[in-house]
Amino acid sequence: MKKLLLIVLISAPFIAQLVVLPFVNRIDPIIFGLPFLQFWLFLWIVLTPFCTLGIYQLQKSEGSLD
């Protein structure tokens, strides 16, 4: 279970910021004053640190942080 979570946290930033780009490459809808593509990139500036933090906590709880 923890392993699965770890894999999700590691791959999410890559999938969101590289793989799915062709699908978010659009202007509408405009959210918080940002066209969708820019909103999406902005969102992942904020979400990526949470992925890193999650990985850090997982490693810490497993004691695999050297």
Binding site: P13, L18, L21, N25, I27, L34, I45, T48, P49, T52
Partner: protein
């Protein structure tokens, strides 16, 4: 060129001189230049916050702001590739930088090439990495040079001889770097980062209000008048495939740069580096909004404005006087301070990994420290020379910098995790990667994919295919770094297996 602005010019020059003075004061204590380790990585005593400022100051340069806005001005949303690129670079760094820092700390290493030498017992590899590093970094220093040059040119036309002022300011930077080492740029980096944040936020808030009555009306106007700017082109030589591969390769390359590595090695603990990996993406909150300033320039400036001056011209038309002075001095500092860190990184490679590893292996102690420090003048001198005399010859090297730098990724990062990676396969892979990158670039056969991506794939493939031929030797040989990296963890693994 149109007449400059005297108020703006005076403020810019005043702030530059203040910062240079602080750079000198930072090195009052003689200890800052007592050894290569003190001078180049501050004796590895910097805490998380200081490293954050330093790495941030390092990576968000004048070129970042001027280059991205001018890309936005001409090529629209392609400029946003810098966002996923740097966010992912910090994310990836979480997985290898702490480990690399620990090896460097344990074995008193100050450059990435030092690490490769100790890891693979190969001076050939370390000097190769150093040559690539210096060759790619000097054009990058030149870019910083053009940053300050453009600033002074727009503000100072009609008042000063721009070239003389540029040369003087760079010599001052070389002098304070020689004198204070990494302490110089660290303290000034804080001033620069605070100014960058304040000024960029100020511009992002005020420019849309001045020209369009607010952020939302501005976005509406771009949507109706220039919607092509807001999405990435679906095809063409630089389309979405280019965007994705460029972002990916650049993110792997970021910490391969000598100046980035210098910044990282100043940290006092692996945990300080983890914290940095966590918080560095936040720098991009400002950056993504700054790209929009390029769109404003597109809508506001008269047709035929040189894209290179897009941001600078926008600032001059919009503010003039004091506002322009503060903005320009921020950009000038964003050009001088990274330049200082880059010069430290390049001098270190020059002295330790080209001069010592290749030419005079017996040099050490105070003499090596002096040579390393003296190299600052050589590096900045070369950058000045090329920048002022052959600006055109540098364009290719600048375009290929990232693609070239990323080729050392297998030697530096993969080798932290793969015990049996052999020196021979790594060296051949590095060379193949460089050759493929340059060939694809010069023949124009990239097929819409970033050049460095082709090179890196060729590099990886070469290492994987050739390694079985040399891997046996690598498997049986060992050294201090290998022991440190692999033997402990294999013991732990055995324990875990026994426990399970």
């Amino acid at each position: 060129m149109q007449q400059g602005n005297l108020t703006a010019l005076s403020i810019t020059i005043f702030i530059i001189l203040t910062v240079v003075l602080i750079g000198f004061l930072a090195g009052r204590d003689k200890a800052t230049r007592s050894s290569v380790e003190e001078w180049s990585v501050g004796g590895r005593r910097f805490g998380g916050l200081l490293v954050w400022f330093l790495v941030g100051a390092d990576l968000y340069t004048a070129y970042t702001f001027l280059g991205l806005t001018s890309t936005a001005y001409t090529a629209g949303s392609l400029a946003f590739f810098a966002i996923p690129y740097s966010v992912l670079a910090y994310f990836i760094s979480y997985f290898f930088l702490p480990k690399l820092w620990k090896v460097a700390n344990e074995h008193k290493l100050t450059t990435l090439a030092d690490y490769a030498r100790e890891r693979f017992d190969s001076k050939l590899l370390s000097s190769l990495i150093a040559i690539v590093g210096v060759l790619m970094l000097i054009p990058y220093i030149c870019l910083q040079l053009s940053g300050i040059q453009d600033t002074l040119q727009v503000a100072g036309t009609g008042f000063i001889n721009v070239k003389v002022v540029v040369i003087t300011s760079f010599l001052l930077v070389a002098l304070y770097t020689f004198f204070s080492g990494i302490k110089g740029p660290t303290y000034t980096a804080i001033i620069k980062d605070v100014l960058v944040w304040a000024i960029m936020l100020f511009m992002v808030v005020s420019l849309p209000i001045m020209h369009f009555g607010g952020w939302n009306p501005m976005v509406d106007k771009i949507v109706t008048e220039a919607p092509h700017l807001l999405t990435i082109p679906e095809s063409g030589p630089k389309g979405i495939t280019w965007f994705i591969t460029a972002a990916f390769v650049s993110s792997l390359a970021l910490f391969m740069w000598a100046h980035a590595a210098t910044g990282v090695f100043t940290a006092k603990s692996a945990d300080a580096i983890r914290k940095n990996a966590l918080f560095l993406p936040l720098y991009n909150i400002v950056l993504i909004l700054v790209v929009f300033l390029g769109f404003i320039a597109f809508l506001v400036l008269p047709d035929g404005t040189d894209p290179r001056f897009a941001l600078l011209a926008l600032i001059q038309t919009s503010y003039g006087g004091i506002g322009q002075g503060l903005a320009y001095s921020t950009i000038a500092l964003a050009s001088l301070i990274p330049c200082s860190i880059m010069a430290i990184g390049a001098s270190n490679l020059f002295a330790n990994n080209i001069y010592r590893d290749l030419i005079n292996p017996r040099v050490k102690g105070p003499k090596l420290t002096m040579i390393t420090r003296g190299m600052v003048f050589v590096v900045i001198g070369l950058a000045l020379l090329f920048g002022l005399v052959f600006p055109q010859a540098l364009v290719s090297l600048q375009l290929l910098g990232v693609s070239g730098m990323v080729q050392i990724f297998p030697a530096i990062v993969i080798s932290l995790f793969w015990r049996n990676q052999s020196r021979e396969a790594t060296i051949i892979g590095l060379i193949v990667g460089l050759v493929v990158t340059f060939t694809v670039y010069s023949t124009g056969t990239s097929l819409g994919i970033y050049e460095g991506f082709w090179g890196l794939m060729a590099n990886f493939a070469t290492v994987v295919v050739l390694n079985p031929f040399f891997g046996k030797k690598a498997k049986h040989s060992s050294n201090a770094v290998k022991k440190y990296l692999f033997d402990q963890s294999s013991k732990e693994e055995q324990l875990v297996r026994k426990g399970a």
